[in-house]
C-alpha cells in the first residue's frame, strides 16, 4: 500500500527526463521520468520492504526518499540515513568521487551497504539498522550493527579487496561483487546464520572462470542462481558478459556475451520475470542505457529499452516499474549535482 503511495507521488512530481523518448510531451502514454535530481554520483538503489521507501547510496552517504508529510510540499522527502563516509576517487579521467556504492535490504530493519569510500584492502561491507521512518539525524558510517571485512592483501587477494558494489541475497548468504585483485574478480560471500551475517570471504573467482574482469551488477534468478554482470575493461566497448552461477557451489553454469560495454546493475522484473541490465558504457556514454537481456540457447540478446546517462543501478518496485540511478552529466554553471533517479514504467519495459 505504501509502495503505491510512493508510486503515485513519483508520478505526480516527476519532471520529464531528458533521456530516451521521454521528451515526447505530445505522447499521452506512459513516460520515462526523472523522479529525483541533485544526487552526487548515486550508485546503489533499494526499496525498503513494507514502507516502499527508496534508499539510495551516493557519494555523501545513504539517503532515504519517502513521501512528503509536510503540508504543501510536493515530491519525495529526502534525508540522510547514514553519512560521514570517506571519499575515494574512481577513474583516471573522467574521475568520480565515490562513497558507499551498493545497497540492499536484508530485512525491513537492516540495510546492507557495500562500500567504495576507502582504498582497496580497507573497504568494508556494513549492515545498518534503520527504522520505517526517517531518522532524526543520520547515523555515522561507523555505527553499523555488523561490519564485514576488510579483506587485506594475502592469499585470497594480492592487493586486498575493494570497490564493493553489487549485492545479491539468497536464503542463506549475502553475495557482494568486488574489484580488488583483478586476477580473481571475486564475488564475495557472507553466510547468514540465524539472520546474522558471517565472515566476508572469497566465494567465486569469476576472472579465473571467464578471463574477463570486474563482476559488478548481481542478482538472483527465480531458480536461485546468481546472475552476474561482468563489466570487462572500461576502455573496451562491447566486452561485458552475463554469467550464471550455482549459488550453492559457486560453479559457473553459463557465460554469455552480451555486446554491452559496462554492465553496472542487474535485476529481474517481478511483473514479467524478464532480466534487465544497466550499461554505463564508460568509453562511449552516449551508448549507455537500460537493456532487456534475453537468453536463447547459447546466445544472449540485448534489447535497448531506453538511453540513460551513465546508469549505475536498478531496482524494481513491486508493481514492476524500474527505478534506476544514474550519474548524469553536469550542466555548465549548474550548482546542483547531476545524479538522478529515473523511473521506467512497467508498460515501457
Amino acid at each position: 500500500m505504501k509502495a503505491l503511495k510512493v508510486l503515485a507521488l513519483t508520478l505526480a512530481v516527476g519532471a520529464v527526463a531528458n533521456i530516451g523518448r521521454a521528451d515526447d510531451k505530445a505522447n499521452p502514454g506512459p513516460q520515462i521520468r526523472t523522479i529525483v535530481r541533485n544526487l552526487d554520483n548515486p550508485s546503489g538503489i533499494a526499496i525498503q520492504p513494507e514502507t516502499g521507501h527508496i534508499f539510495v547510496s551516493e557519494h555523501r552517504g545513504v539517503l532515504r526518499l519517502s513521501p512528503q508529510t509536510e503540508e504543501g510540499k510536493k515530491g519525495l522527502a529526502r534525508a540522510f540515513e547514514v553519512n560521514r563516509y570517506p571519499t575515494d576517487i574512481y577513474g583516471k579521467g573522467p574521475m568520480y568521487d565515490v562513497g558507499p556504492l551498493g545497497v540492499a535490504f536484508l530485512d525491513v530493519e537492516h540495510i546492507i551497504v557495500a562500500d567504495g569510500s576507502r582504498k582497496d584492502a580497507e573497504e568494508l561491507v556494513r549492515v545498518y539498522k534503520v527504522g520505517t521512518t526517517s531518522a532524526e539525524k543520520p547515523a555515522k558510517e561507523d555505527s553499523a550493527v555488523y561490519t564485514l571485512g576488510p579483506i587485506t592483501a594475502g592469499d585470497t587477494s594480492a592487493k586486498g579487496e575493494g570497490n564493493f558494489y553489487g549485492i545479491a541475497i539468497t536464503n542463506n548468504a549475502i553475495h557482494i561483487t568486488s574489484n580488488g585483485d583483478d586476477t580473481k574478480g571475486w564475488v564475495l560471500r557472507s553466510q547468514l546464520k540465524d539472520g546474522k551475517p558471517g565472515e566476508l570471504e572469497g566465494f567465486i573467482a569469476t576472472k579465473q572462470d571467464v578471463q574477463t574482469d570486474a563482476p559488478c551488477g548481481i542478482t538472483v534468478s527465480s531458480s536461485g542462481d546468481l546472475v552476474v554482470g561482468q563489466m570487462g575493461e572500461v576502455n573496451v566497448a562491447g566486452d561485458s558478459l552475463l554469467l550464471i552461477y550455482d549459488a550453492k557451489t559457486g560453479k559457473l553454469k553459463k557465460s554469455y556475451e552480451t555486446g554491452l560495454s559496462d554492465i553496472t546493475g542487474m535485476a529481474y522484473s517481478p511483473a514479467t520475470g524478464k532480466l534487465y541490465a544497466t550499461d554505463f558504457s564508460w568509453a562511449a556514454t552516449e551508448n549507455g542505457g537500460l537493456f532487456e537481456l534475453t537468453i536463447s540457447g547459447d546466445k544472449c540478446e540485448a534489447r535497448k529499452v531506453c538511453e540513460l546517462d551513465k546508469p549505475t543501478a536498478i531496482v524494481f518496485d513491486d508493481k514492476g516499474n524500474a527505478l534506476i540511478t544514474a550519474f548524469g552529466t553536469a550542466e555548465e554553471g549548474s550548482k546542483t549535482k547531476p545524479g538522478h533517479i529515473v523511473r521506467v514504467p512497467k508498460k515501457l519495459l
Binding site: K92, A158, D182, E233, N235, V236, D239
Partner: protein, 337 residues
Amino acid sequence: MHRAWFAARLVGGMLSVLLFTGQSFSWGDEPPGLPKVVHPNGDVPSAKQIALGKQLYFDPRLSRDNTISCASCHDPKKGFSNGETFATGVRNQVGGRNSPTVINTAFQRFQFWDGRAGTLEEQALGPIQNPIEMDMTLEEVVKRLNGIPGYRQQFQDVFGTDVNSEGIAKAIAAYERTVLSGNAPYDQFQAGDKSALSESAQRGMKLFFGRANCSACHAGQNFTDNGFHNIGIGMDAKEPDPGRVAISKLGGDTGAFKTPTLREIARSGPYMHDGSLKTLSDVVAHYNRGGIANPWLDEEMFEMKLTELEQADLVKFLEEGLSSSTYPNHTPPELPQ
C-alpha cells in the same frame, strides 16, 4: 593432446590450406590453447587468398622505394617484430613506436599500439600510406601492383577484379590470421602434461596468475585483456607519447597502450610501445617496481616486492612456457612478376 594435435595436422582436412612455402594451416584446427579464428562476416578466406596475402606481406614493392615490406618490421625471424627499438621505414626514417608483433593478432580486438584500427583489414592499409613507413598512396600502390601481371592475374582469380585496395587489405589480413602460436608448454601443462614445464617455470606460472598480478591484464587464451593500460612507460619523458587518449579522448587513457599478447614474447624484444626495455628481466623488474608514477598510472601497477628468484621464475615462465615448438616460422614466398 599434443600428439593428437600433430596427428590432426598431418592428416589435414578439406579446409587445409597449403601455402606456397609448404607451411600448412587448417581453419578450425587452430593450435591447442587458442580460440577459433573469427573471420569478418564469417567469410572464410580461400587458400589462394591467403597465399596472395602472404606475397603482399613479404613484397617490398608496396613501398615507395621498393625497400620496405610488412615483413621488414614484422619479421617472422624476429617474433613478427623487428628486433629494434623502433620501426624503420623508407629512406631509413625511424618511427616513434616499437613494431608490435603480428602473432595471434587475429584475436586482438584492436590493432596498433593505440588501437586506432578495429580490424586487420583496416590496419593493413595504414603502414602502406604512412609517410615514415611505406610512403605510398593507395592509388599509387594499386597502380603499381596492377602493372605486375602475376598480381593482376591472382587478384582476378581470388576476387574477380583487378588489384584494388580492398582486395589488398583482405588478402593481407587473411594471411595475418594464419600467424598463430599456441600449443606451448603452458598449454600442454594445462592439458595434463605435468612434465611440460620446468619447476622454475611452474613457480613463475603460479606467480603470473597470482601475486605478481600479471593476469590482471594478460588474461585469456591470448594472454591479453584487449584493453589499454598506462604502466608508466615513457611517462617520465619530456613529452610523453599520449597513447590511446589520442583516439578515445578519454582522459583516463592518457599514456595507455594496448595490452600485447605474451605468446612468443621471448622472440619479440625489445619490449613496450617505445622499445625501451631490452629484456624480459627488465620488463619484470619494471612491474616489480610498480611502474613509473604518473597521474594516470593503472591501478594494477603497484610495488610487488618479488625476490630475485621470483623474478627469475617469472621470466622463465614467459620464455619457456609461452614459446611454442610449432612457432609459425614463415619464410618469404616467391613473388609475382
